[in-house]
C-alpha cells in the first residue's frame, strides 16, 4: 500500500545534453557539475522538497551510472522516505517486449503504473536541464485556481531572444490559445520553461492516446500538448519571474556559473529558506596559503590554493599551485593546476591536470578576430603537458603533450 499523494513529480533526466560535448561524454546532462558543489539535478530535486513534493520519479536513460550513484537513496535531499521519496526509473522490459524511452511523453507513459500507485490528483513534469529556484506549490495553486488541465510555467524573455524559444500565445486570462515553436516573428514573449503540471486523469488519457498513434514522436512539446490544445482542454500559462537559465551549451553553462559571482544576479545559493541540497563531498576545509590571491570567486571544501584566482568557480578538492593563475574559469572536482600555469575563460572537467607553465584558454581582449574566441573545455581526466597550449574554443578530449599547441579546429 502506498500513501496517496496529491502531486507526484516526474523528472526527465535521460537526455544526453549533446551540446555540452566533452562534458557529457560519460555522464547524463543532469549530472553535470554546477556552481562549485552542485549538479544540475540538485535544483529541481531541491525545489521539489522545498515545495512540499515528497515523491519524485527520475527517468534515466543516457549514461545513468553516475546519476544513479549520485541520487542513491535520496538522503541528501531528504527524499529517502518510507514509501514516497525519490525513485530512479530506467526503461525496462515487459512481457510484450522492451523499449527505450522513445520521447518525453513515452517516458511518462511507460511509468503510468509508478504514478498510479500514489493515486495523485496532479503530476508535475520537470526536466533536469535548468538552474532556477521555483516554488512549485505556487504553480500548483494557480493550476487549481484556474481549474486547468495543464499549466505551463513561462518566462518573459526579451523580444529579440523570443525566436529561440517555444513561445506561448495567451488570452488576457492566462489561457493558452497557440503554441509557436521558435517563431520567426513572435507574437508574445512568454517562453515555455519545460515545466508542466497536469491533472493526472487527463494526462493519462492523452498519454495512452498518444501511444496508440504510431505517427507520434511521443514528445510533450510536439505531440501531447498540441493534442490537448486542439481538443479544447483548459491550458494556462503561469508566469515565473526569478532567475532561470538553460545550461544546455558550453557558453550558457559557463555564463550560469559566472552569474553566481555577480551580486546583481538574483540567484542566492546561501538563502537558508530555500536551500539547494547536494551530496556533500565531506572534505577538510579549503586552505589558502600565504602566496594565494583570491578575489570574486567561489571555492569549495578540500581545495588547496597557492596561486591567484580571479572571478572563478572552483569545485571540491582542486589544487592550484604557487604562481598559477586562474581567471574567469570553472574548475570541476579534483583538478590540479601546476606551477606557473594559466587557465582563463575555460572549463576544466573533473580530475584534469594542467602541467607547469601550460596555458588553457584565451582572454577575448587578447584576440583580434573575436569569431575565433570561445570558452576552452578540457574533458575529465585529461592531462595538459608542461608548457602545453590550449587555444580558445578548443574542446580537448585527449592528453596534450608537453609544449604542444591545440586549437579549436584540431
Amino acid at each position: 500500500m502506498f500513501r496517496k499523494q496529491e502531486c507526484v513529480a516526474m523528472l526527465l533526466a535521460g537526455g544526453q545534453g549533446s551540446r555540452l560535448y566533452a562534458l557529457t561524454r560519460r555522464i547524463a546532462k543532469p549530472a553535470v557539475p554546477y556552481g562549485g558543489k552542485y549538479r544540475i539535478i540538485d535544483f529541481p530535486l531541491s525545489n521539489c522538497v522545498n515545495s512540499g513534493i515528497e515523491t519524485v520519479g527520475v527517468l534515466t536513460q543516457y549514461q545513468p551510472l553516475e546519476l544513479n550513484d549520485y541520487i542513491g537513496s535520496g538522503q541528501p535531499w531528504d527524499l529517502d522516505r518510507m514509501d514516497a521519496g525519490v525513485h530512479v526509473l530506467p526503461p525496462y522490459q515487459r512481457n510484450q517486449g522492451a523499449d527505450w524511452y522513445k520521447g518525453t511523453a513515452n517516458a511518462i507513459y511507460q511509468n503510468i503504473d509508478f504514478i498510479q500507485r500514489y493515486d495523485p490528483e496532479y503530476v508535475l513534469v520537470l526536466s533536469g536541464d535548468h538552474i532556477y529556484k521555483m516554488d512549485y506549490s505556487d504553480m500548483l495553486a494557480y493550476h487549481k485556481e484556474k481549474g486547468a488541465d495543464c499549466t505551463i510555467a513561462v518566462l518573459d524573455v526579451p523580444k529579440e531572444e523570443a525566436s529561440r524559444f517555444g513561445i506561448l500565445n495567451t488570452n488576457p486570462d492566462g489561457s493558452i490559445y497557440e503554441f509557436d515553436e521558435k517563431p520567426a516573428v513572435p507574437k508574445s514573449t512568454l517562453a515555455s520553461m519545460g515545466i508542466y503540471i497536469f491533472t493526472w486523469e487527463k494526462l493519462r488519457k492523452y498519454l495512452i492516446a498518444d501511444e496508440e498513434d504510431s505517427t507520434s514522436q511521443n514528445d510533450f512539446g510536439k505531440n501531447v500538448l498540441p493534442a490537448m490544445l486542439n481538443a479544447g482542454e483548459q491550458m494556462f500559462a503561469w508566469r515565473f519571474d526569478g532567475y532561470w537559465k538553460d545550461v544546455g551549451t558550453i557558453d550558457s553553462l559557463w555564463e550560469a556559473n559566472m552569474d553566481l559571482l555577480d551580486p546583481n544576479v538574483p540567484l542566492d545559493l546561501a538563502d537558508p529558506t530555500w536551500k539547494i541540497y547536494s551530496r556533500n563531498p565531506g572534505m577538510p576545509p579549503q586552505y589558502l596559503s600565504a602566496t594565494s590571491q583570491v578575489q570574486n570567486s567561489s571555492i569549495t571544501e578540500g581545495c588547496a590554493i597557492h596561486g591567484k584566482v580571479e572571478s572563478s568557480v572552483i569545485f571540491a578538492g582542486v589544487t592550484i599551485e604557487e604562481g598559477a593563475e586562474i581567471v574567469q574559469s570553472i574548475l570541476m572536482p579534483g583538478s590540479v593546476v601546476r606551477k606557473g600555469a594559466k587557465v582563463q575563460y575555460a572549463i576544466l572537467a573533473e580530475d584534469v591536470e594542467v602541467g607547469e607553465d601550460a596555458v588553457v584558454g584565451e582572454a577575448p581582449e587578447e584576440i583580434d578576430d573575436l569569431s575565433r574566441w570561445g570558452v576552452a573545455v578540457v574533458a575529465s581526466g585529461v592531462k595538459v603537458g608542461k608548457g602545453g597550449k590550449v587555444l580558445a574554443k578548443s574542446m580537448i578530449e585527449a592528453d596534450v603533450k608537453d609544449g604542444e599547441e591545440v586549437s579549436a579546429n584540431a
Binding site: 556552481g35 562549485g36 558543489k37 538522503q75 541528501p76 545559493l269 546561501a270 536551500k275 539547494i276 541540497y277 547536494s278 556533500n280 565531506g282 572534505m283 577538510p284 576545509p285 579549503q286 586552505y287 589558502l288 596559503s289 600565504a290 602566496t291 594565494s292 590571491q293 583570491v294 578575489q295 570574486n296 570567486s297 567561489s298 571555492i299 569549495t300 571544501e301 584566482v309 568557480v313 572552483i314
Partner: protein
Amino acid sequence: MRNYSALGLIFANMHDESFRDGTAVRSMGSLPFGGRYRLIDFPLSAMVNAGITKVGVITKSNYQSLMDHLGSGKAWDLSRKNEGLYFLPPRSSDDAMYQGRIGSLVDVIPFLNHSKEELVILADCHMVTSMDYDALIKAHVDSGADVTMVCRHGAVPKLADIPVLTMDASCHVTDLLLGRIADQTAYYGTGVYVMRKDWLLRTITEAAARNLYHFERDILQRRLDELKICGYVASSLVMPIYSTESYFNANLALLEDEVRSQLFPHHRPVYTKLKDCDPVQYGLHAEVTNCLVGDGAHVDGKVKNSIIFRGVKISRHAQLENCVVMQNVTVGDHCKLSNIIVDKNVAIRGGVTLQGSESYPVYIAKNSIV
C-alpha cells in the same frame, strides 16, 4: 576482513573542566575545531576507519549540542541496521554513580553485556589525532597485554591526573605517575585504551564493589605489578587540548602543511556532520592568506593566519589576524581582530577593535554581541 572484533566507547565529557571557556555550553566532544569539525569527530572517525561498527558515546552533562551533532550517526556511516552509534547518557540522576571513568563504565554494563565484540577501545576527545586504530588494536592483540594505553612523548600537558609512563624496551609499562611534574618531557597517556571486554567488565565490577572509581589510579597504578600494561607510542601527530591557549595553538597549527597532512590523511578521512552550505564566496575586496576556511563562509575582508568556520561572514574592510572564528559568526565593517577566539553565533558589530596576545588569546563566548 579483520581477525578481531572491537567495540568503541567514547567519553564525551572527560576533561571538560580543563577548558571552561569552550565547554561552558557544551561537552569536550562537541567543541568546534579546525573550520568544520567537533573534537569527537577524530576518535569517532578513527574507530570507523578501523572497521568498528558499534560505538557507544558516554555523556554526563551538557550534551545537547553533541546529540545534535551526532544525530543518527549517518555522517560517520554509523546509522546501521546492525549496530551503529549508541548514545549513552546517565541512567539515573544519582550523582554518586558518576564518579570517574569507572563510574561511567559501570553505568553502561548492560550495553557491554549486550555486545558480542571481544575487544573494547576507550577514547577521550581532548587529544586531536587521526591515528590508525587498526594498527593499535593489532599491536594490543600481538602483545598479549591486559591493557594497552596510547601514549605520546613530549611536554606533558597541564592536566590533572594525566598518566606519565616509564616503559621498558618492549613497551611494558614499569612505572605510572599521575599528574605533571614541573615542565616535564615524558611519555604521557592520551586517554585511549584497548582491552578485552570480559576483562573490563570483571575489573570495573570488582573496583566499584571496593568503592574505587578512578580508572588510572585505582586499576592501572594500583595493580601495575600484577597486570601487563603496555604503552603504544602514537607515531602520528597528537595535539592535546587542555586550555584556551592550547586550543588556540592546535587550531592555528592546522595552517602548517605537515599538520594538515597528518590530521587529514587521504585514506583515513575525518567525518563530520554535513551541512548544506554554499561554497565559500570571496568578494572583490577579499585578501585572504594562510587561512583554513569552512564552506558557507562569505569573506570580503582582509584575513591572515586564521581558522574560519562554516557560515562565517566577514565584511569589507574588516581585518583579522591569528583568529579562530567559529560557525555563523558575523564580523562587521572596519573591525580589527587579532589573537581572538570567537565562539559560535557571535555578532561583532562594525568598527570594533579587539586584541589578544599570542600567548593569551581572548575568548568571546557563544552568542555574544560585541
